[in-house]
């Protein structure tokens, strides 16, 4: 039952028989130029290119500008816009209902790094298989411009004055909680966002994407870490990244030998990283932490695939649940027999 909705305007369709229009959501009500809109557009593109069926994707979000954005992509998918900072638990329960679905969670820096830091880290620790996107702008937009926990020290905001605290680095928090996929990107770099999304979707485990997404209304000062101009000037890609779906031959010619590194994902797909300069191995957690620390000291916005380990069992690999989604279990398998109750009664002594 994956019949696409009839769409007379279809010109091109993907392998799922769906057009890009089948992946769209409602028109955005976020500010014009908001980085979040760009991310939503790349989610549409990535899902289309990965031939996902919208009904086989489930979306989750918390509260905030970022968390509103699931409305703006994959309108046919099930979605739950939950509570502020508590989306990971909601997603965990929802995914136990049907673990065959691809889950995409969208959160913000307030939702993840302030009120939701606890649930974020426990979701990571459990390796819940979902794409967890943090649209990170360092500011509370929906309440009109307060500092978030990812705002850098010394940042000045109109009503708030100067931020006296050091920021939380979401990628680093994910790494030290044993995340199995950590990436950072910049909303102004749509191609990289898309390729990272595709790799994240292919990953069988938690995939944390910290996407610096400038807030055009409350936080777009030229000197700020989360602004467009800063991002454009200081973005330092670790590598160019390409996602290659499973069973497609990688044309080695596309990547110069010796300067690429391939990571085979759990489903057989590959992520090909083209080195820019340094020898960087995204499977080395210590190197990843070191790199992030180094980037801090240089004020670099390092983007790319920071860390991946495709071999770690996901949460669902640990549980002995059936291949058929639990929410399709027939009632007769859920209620034990009368004989079982007789036995229970005999045990109650």
């Amino acid at each position: 039952m994956t019949t696409p909705l009839p769409n007379p305007a279809i010109q091109t369709v993907n392998k799922a028989g769906l057009s890009k229009g089948d992946y769209k959501g409602l028109p955005s009500t976020l500010c014009q130029g908001c980085g979040h809109n760009g991310v939503a557009a790349q989610i549409v593109a990535a899902c289309y290119e990965m031939n996902l069926v919208p009904e086989k994707v489930v979306k989750f979000s918390g509260i905030g500008c970022s968390s509103k954005s699931p409305t703006y992509f994959l309108g046919r998918s099930f979605s739950f816009n939950g509570l502020h900072g508590r989306m990971p638990s909601l997603a965990l329960g929802g995914m136990f209902a049907d673990h065959t679905l691809k889950a995409i969670g969208v959160s913000g820096d307030g939702d993840t790094a302030s009120i939701g830091l606890g649930q974020f880290k426990h979701m990571v620790r459990r390796n819940l298989p979902m794409v967890y996107i943090v649209e990170n702008n360092g500011v509370y937009g929906l309440t009109k411009g307060q500092f978030s926990a990812t705002a850098e020290r010394g940042l000045q905001l109109k009503k708030q004055g100067t931020n006296p605290y050091l920021p939380v680095d979401i990628a680093m928090e994910a790494l030290i909680s044993n995340a199995t996929f950590v990436a950072r990107s910049f909303a102004g770099d749509p191609r990289q966002v898309k390729e990272l999304l595709k790799a994240a979707i292919a990953h069988n485990g938690i995939a944390v994407l910290d996407i610096i997404s400038p807030c055009v209304t409350f936080h777009n000062h030229e000197n700020s870490f989360h602004s467009y101009s800063f991002g454009k000037e200081h973005e330092e890609p670790l590598h160019e990244i390409s996602y290659v779906p499973p069973k497609e031959d990688i044309t080695v010619e596309d990547f110069e030998e010796g300067t690429t590194r391939e990571v085979v994902m759990h489903d057989g797909s590959q992520v090909v990283l083209k080195k820019l300069e340094k020898e960087y191995d995204p499977r080395d957690r210590w190197q990843a932490l070191h790199m992030l620390e180094d980037a801090h000291s240089h004020d670099w916005l390092v983007t790319g695939l920071i860390y991946v380990d495709p071999e770690v069992p996901s949460m669902f690999d640990i549980y002995n649940i059936p291949e058929t989604p639990l929410n399709r279990t027939p009632n007769e398998k859920l209620r034990p027999s009368r004989e079982a109750l007789d036995e229970v009664n005999r045990l109650m002594f």
């Binding site: 816009n81 990971p88 638990s89 049907d98 606890g118 649930q119 426990h122 279990t329 109650m348």
Partner: protein
């Protein structure tokens, strides 16, 4: 006393020990033996919030009449804690029995007592157990002495130990040899001077011995629980742990060898309820278990589940609040909290089991109600039910098939669309009962997906700032709770005494009320009785209020919370209602209920 001057199967024994000393094995062994003799027996464990070293009291009540409530005075005290001897001796009824180790320094302040001293150290020293186990096994001495004094067959003790240690010979033997030695010593050295005796009867036919948390967990398993998110908290922990114990026994699919359930211990109660609500939204029979502080933390999420219309079952095994309160003492103090939980207007369904058997029954029934009405259901148990061992009627197999409510899968959606002009909306009231049709994630019908949210939404789940569209949803949900009353367990009225005075109570107040009514009728005071089993209240509650000239509402809390809700719902009857509320962390006792009712002006 019976003809022979004996008090048979109608007395109370309290064991005073230090917690962490292993007395639980000794106490439950005795309880099991008495149960096997056919004597209705119940226990109250009064224990500290501590792992080792503080005083603990465990009371066994034998009641040939089947009374399960707590009693105020002890007939026999086994004093194994030297620090509390002088306190305990005050609790003994006139002519009571005091057992203590022979090496305790104790001067008897009362002349009416019968004292037996037990050579605990010597008997334990003679036993062939490693020194590290001596303290644990020393409690078996009083088991042996009591077997002699009360007339309990040692074979029954052996059976109980066999059950306790699941047939493992070594601990069975180690414990039993101490019991036997103490029994033989008693036979040779003690002269029975007290009147208390245990005699075989048939008071536990068709009965089981268990606690409410085990019952609730098993009821949930027979209700088809598929997902549990939980966080440890006294006194609810053993409910989730019972799920973990029994689910692998009864809920592995024999065809695939796969589990039909998942249990996740969360990082806190916020996550426990979040997980449970996510799973409920996904179509799983989903639950969490907690106590007061956890329920407070779950408040925001429960509001979301109410408004997004997600089925979920929340067990609150109540302890004494507010704040951290008394984790190891019982109360009915979360009733108004549960009823009004979370901000904004809303309705909450509350089930209140009044027996261990009902803990099982509401375990499965809660899922039917939650899924039928697509809303959270809070089951209010308490520590007295949850953690104490009771003689209970056997669990009964559910008398109804599982009700999964209004769910549309792919084929159902096709039929639904054909019937309803090609349209479906998640929150549309197509049947006029306020209950919409829901779809579940994974449904591949292209019209099945929807956007659940806690923000204001229209009937098709879209975000809206249109007040008229909000109001449609608010009022439709209110109607759902009106029509939904038919699915709730009705209050049970006993009007056999045709009395002018009506008692209203709920939950674990029931045993004390039942016993108090028997005490009152012996004095010529008739009472009718209504036991509330669910909220919101339905017509049978109003009928009872209307019918009786005078009403008392019993609560195990400070403020009379059940009375508050009744008078708020039915202000017309408030003037004839008296609140009898009592909170001391202990289960309600019949004597208190009797005294309070006798002291009412009009009752004479």
């Amino acid at each position: 006393m019976s003809k022979q001057g004996l008090v048979v199967n109608d007395f109370c024994i309290t064991f005073s020990t230090v917690n962490g000393s292993g007395s639980a094995t000794a106490n439950t062994t005795l309880m099991r033996a008495l149960f096997k003799m056919g004597i209705p027996v119940s226990s109250k464990n009064i224990f500290p919030s501590n792992i080792q070293g503080l005083p603990t009291w465990y009371t066994l009540r034998l009641s040939k009449d089947g009374y399960m409530g707590r009693v105020e005075q002890d007939d026999i005290i086994v004093a194994m804690n030297p620090a509390t001897l002088h306190k305990e001796v005050q609790y003994l009824a006139p002519g009571g029995v005091f057992l203590l180790p022979d090496d305790f320094n104790f001067e008897n302040p009362r002349e009416d007592l019968i004292i037996y001293r037990m050579p605990v150290k010597k008997l334990v020293k003679d036993a062939e157990v490693p020194p590290s186990l001596r303290d644990y096994i020393s409690n078996m001495v009083y088991v042996g002495v009591l077997c002699f004094l009360l007339g309990i067959d040692l074979d029954l003790i052996h059976q109980a130990l066999d059950f306790q240690f699941k047939g493992r010979q070594k601990p069975i033997d180690q414990n039993y040899q101490v019991v036997e030695a103490a029994y033989l010593w008693s036979k040779q050295n003690l002269v029975k001077k007290d009147p208390y005796a245990a005699e075989k009867m048939h008071g536990t036919d068709d009965c089981i011995m268990t606690d409410g948390n085990t019952a609730g967990a098993l009821g949930s398993i027979f209700g088809g629980v598929q997902f549990t998110g939980w966080y440890p908290i006294t006194p609810a922990t053993s409910l989730a742990e019972s799920l973990i114990e029994y689910l692998p026994k009864y809920r592995v699919d024999p065809e695939t060898g796969k589990d039909t359930y998942a249990v996740v211990q969360s990082e806190d109660e916020l996550a426990a309820i979040g997980m449970a609500i996510g799973a409920g939204w996904g179509g799983l029979r989903s639950m969490t278990s907690t106590s007061g502080p956890g329920l407070s933390l779950m408040s925001e999420y429960i509001g979301l589940a109410y408004y997004a219309e997600v089925p979920v079952v929340i067990w609150d095994v109540q302890r004494v609040g507010p704040s951290t309160g008394m984790p190891t003492r019982t109360a009915q103090g979360d009733l108004t909290q549960a009823n009004f939980i979370s901000h904004g207007d809303k309705n909450m369904i509350i089930l209140i089991p009044g027996s261990i058997q009902e803990c099982f029954e509401f375990g499965w029934r809660a899922f039917d109600i939650a899924e039928r009405l697509q809303t959270p259901v809070i089951v209010l148990s308490d520590l007295d039910f949850g953690m104490n061992m009771w003689t209970s009627k056997k669990f009964e197999y559910p008398d109804q098939p599982m009700d999964r409510g209004k769910v549309l899968w792919e084929g159902d959606m096709e039929e639904f669309l054909a019937k309803h002009g090609g349209e479906w909306g998640r929150y549309r009231d197509v049947d006029g009962d306020g209950i919409p049709w829901r779809t579940l994630p994974g449904n591949t019908h292209p019209k099945s997906g929807y956007f659940a949210r806690g923000t204001s939404h229209n009937e098709d789940t879209g975000y809206t700032e249109d007040p008229e569209k909000w109001e449609i949803i608010f009022n439709r949900i209110a109607n759902k709770f009106e029509t939904g009353k038919q699915y709730l367990p009705k209050a049970i009225a006993d009007e056999s005494q045709k009395a002018a005075l009506g008692i209203i109570a709920s939950g674990s107040a029931d045993p004390a009320v039942q016993e108090a009514r028997d005490l009152l009728i012996k004095q010529g005071i008739k009472t009718d009785y209504l036991r509330i089993r669910s909220l919101p209240f339905d017509t049978e509650v109003e009928d009872f209020l209307k019918k009786h000239e005078q009403l008392v509402v019993l609560d195990i809390n400070r403020d009379g919370q059940l009375n508050q809700l009744l008078t708020m719902t039915y202000p017309a009857y408030a003037a004839k209602t008296t609140s009898l509320a009592h909170l001391d962390g202990l289960p309600l006792n019949a004597k208190w209920v009797e005294t309070q009712i006798l002291s009412l002006k009009e009752v004479k």
